[in-house]
Symmetry: C2
Subunit: 253 residues, 2 copies
Amino acid sequence: MKNYKMIVSYDGTRYFGWEHQPGKDLTIQGKLESVLEEMEAGEHPDAERRRITVIGAGRTDAGVHARAMTCNVLLETEKTEAQIQAYMNRYLPEDISVNEVKICADRFHSRFKATGKTYRYTLWYGASRPVFDRKYVTVLEKKPDVEKMREAAELLTGMHDYKSFCGNPKMKKETIRVVDTIRIEESGNYIRIYFHGNGFLQNMVRIMTGTLLEVGYGKREPSEMPALLEARNRRLAGPTAPPQGLTLMKVDY
Amino acid sequence: MKNYKMIVSYDGTRYFGWEHQPGKDLTIQGKLESVLEEMEAGEHPDAERRRITVIGAGRTDAGVHARAMTCNVLLETEKTEAQIQAYMNRYLPEDISVNEVKICADRFHSRFKATGKTYRYTLWYGASRPVFDRKYVTVLEKKPDVEKMREAAELLTGMHDYKSFCGNPKMKKETIRVVDTIRIEESGNYIRIYFHGNGFLQNMVRIMTGTLLEVGYGKREPSEMPALLEARNRRLAGPTAPPQGLTLMKVDY
């Protein structure tokens, strides 16, 4: 068995997220695993069918997309890296793409070894509509004050306890993370927020985006951010922005 | 009644094309007309409901997209241009967007006054897959020889009788057109072919693309293009490339 590192893109629109869940068939992890199990079964028709586990760098929520999710998987196959990629892209649905397959060190674990992640949240506003990327943006009623959002974003970066921005109320583990940059770019009718950090709690990017939007619409002041972090109370933060605007862009190792 | 010029984008994936057809409900023209009829009916509840006709600059085929289709329509409304746009974008499905609404001269006719059109055909090749714009590209098995395609494209430009590239076998009208440029751009895994001309016959851009691809795969030589034009015989040209890679980019006046 060799350990394979893979880089995968997906349009999360019709999935229950990355991770398989009881009773919910349609997950990215589930799709990848079924195709790989089929592949192995095809190569070893007499062997007992083996359950394959694809380990992802993180768990994206239902409806969230990825440009470059990194994952790894132990495979028993005679195929070359390129052949595995070709097989997977042939049998996966068209909203999932395997962009890279590489044999990696046995000790490589896509989640434990990840040192950072970049997420992008895409907002759109205007009198027309974003027809061609409507599944990948969140449409705003009107333009928010981006300068105010930048001020607030600056105050949300650093090493903090992000419990106020954690969507899991039962979270027992450590909620301290380092978010080193939140960069907000404007281009035409788009506002794109890039988050980079060593890790993110459940829904954290979406709750930060929802909070930044409240700042952008004057419902909160940037100066309230330190107290919000301090409070460690999810109910004091803004709403969870919709999943479709969010994309995992890159995982660092 | 005033004449309104409109610029419209649409994702043609689920439509039978621009023009309404007997028994086929789902057309862009049909969607625009229903929304405008509703709008007028709402403003004049006591008047007899009027049948509205939206005149498009051209008829895109089923599955073909538009970034900027121009159309015009006579309306009886008190609404401002911005209000008409807002109303339409509120009630149209999310795969159609009205980008501009402007009162124009009574004599403006979006089809008869059009002096040129730009179409783009997008091709994609590679070992991965184009997840995020999969509805707007045609995926190729392997990379074609783009230099050869450019040579052939050059020989297809000019003023010619394009009957060999006309998808309508019963076409009785003039088949002479001027195609002044066919520009092929490469960027990453994309090959984009831009066609500009004074008008295009039915399926013409798709048949030209299918023919250029045969050149790109060595099934034809660029030098065969003049004889192909000369022949005025659809059967001698290449296949009609699939609709999803095609987008109407702009209409000139």
